[in-house]
Amino acid sequence: MKALFVILLSAMLTDNFVLSKFMGICPFLGVSKKLDSATGMGLAVTFVMICATCVTYPIHHGILVPNDLEYFDTVVFILVIALFVQLVETMLKKCIPSLYKSLGVYLPLITTNCAVLGVTVLNIDNSYNFGESIVNALGGGLGFMLALVIFSGVRKKLEYADIPDTFKGVPATLIAASIVSVSFMGFSGLFN
């Protein structure tokens, strides 16, 4: 139980996917302008991360390892994720239209989000068991959402700031991200 908790918190805070592993920078910079879209994207990523882990873990340990095909990981995982995102999109559209309305826009963006492929590969690399993998995915997704939500607040302030012309736009956003990342460094060393 304690081990699971450590995995959850370290995936969320100390090894935050966006701010210390640099995965999913594109949505981090692209979708963090408004609070509601940041929340939506965060939820969608968390959901897909957990589901992708649930699907890829049995495939790796049940099909690829017994047949000595581990080197197909990348190809199989990315295909499974792409198919899965498509499936979730179709199902949400049919079954829960209200949820689809709020999350649907972000789903196609997630297929090639490195955080999703990253979490599935990391689970295998760290040789987590099934429970640990799910917790790691949950922590990673929540950490992603946390970073996006915090950053959307920072960007709101940034809009009113008087910035030199050269730095306006992306450069200023990146420097703001660097300061947020410094604040997350405060968590390092929390678990050993």
Binding site: C26, L79, V105, V170, S178
Partner: protein, 225 residues
Amino acid sequence: MAENKNSLGKELTKGIIKENPTLVMLLGMCPTLAVTTQAKNGIGMGLATTFVLLGSNIVVSALRKIIPDKVRIPAFIVIIASFVTLIGFLMEGFLPDLYESLGIYLTLITVNCIIFGRAEMFASKNGVVASACDAIGMGIGFTLALFLMGSVREIIGSGQWMGLTIPVLSKDPMLLFIMPAGGFFTLGVIIALVNKLSKKKPPLELSCKGCPHADACAKNGGDCQ
């Protein structure tokens, strides 16, 4: 013939400065930030990406009339992932040190938006030779950008550069620069400098133009900003 050569030359050179994938089009940020703690890693990552880009661009453009439009995204992904697996094997065999230091980011080349974006925007519409030139140009541009980032971060952050020790800086290196925060900072300053030097209006937002999902996003009535 001369004109043909000219246009191929243009495909080759446009990626290096004018449409530099990282610094101008702002694609492929994840590896740019993650592996550039050393100039050497930057070059390794850049060359690995160039290899995958070249392979996938050639295959995609050769198959562009065979792959049905509806399944093109999964098809491109499989092609790209196969080349990533290939470069993973090659690097593990011949350059094990680099393989160790790139780690998971080597696998993540699969989802690098530069590769997907070029397959979608260029290779699926142009011939094999033009696509190969485009891939080489974009790859060199990406490698140069990573090398620049890596050099700045390594020199300031650890006082070394490609195995050389920089006299004054190595005494008191600013460790922040090789930490994640320094990556964001360095990239921000470099993009600002590029804006200043090119005297262009800076890109106010990440543009949808380069995003491989622009189509899907617009169809859903989405606005990726």
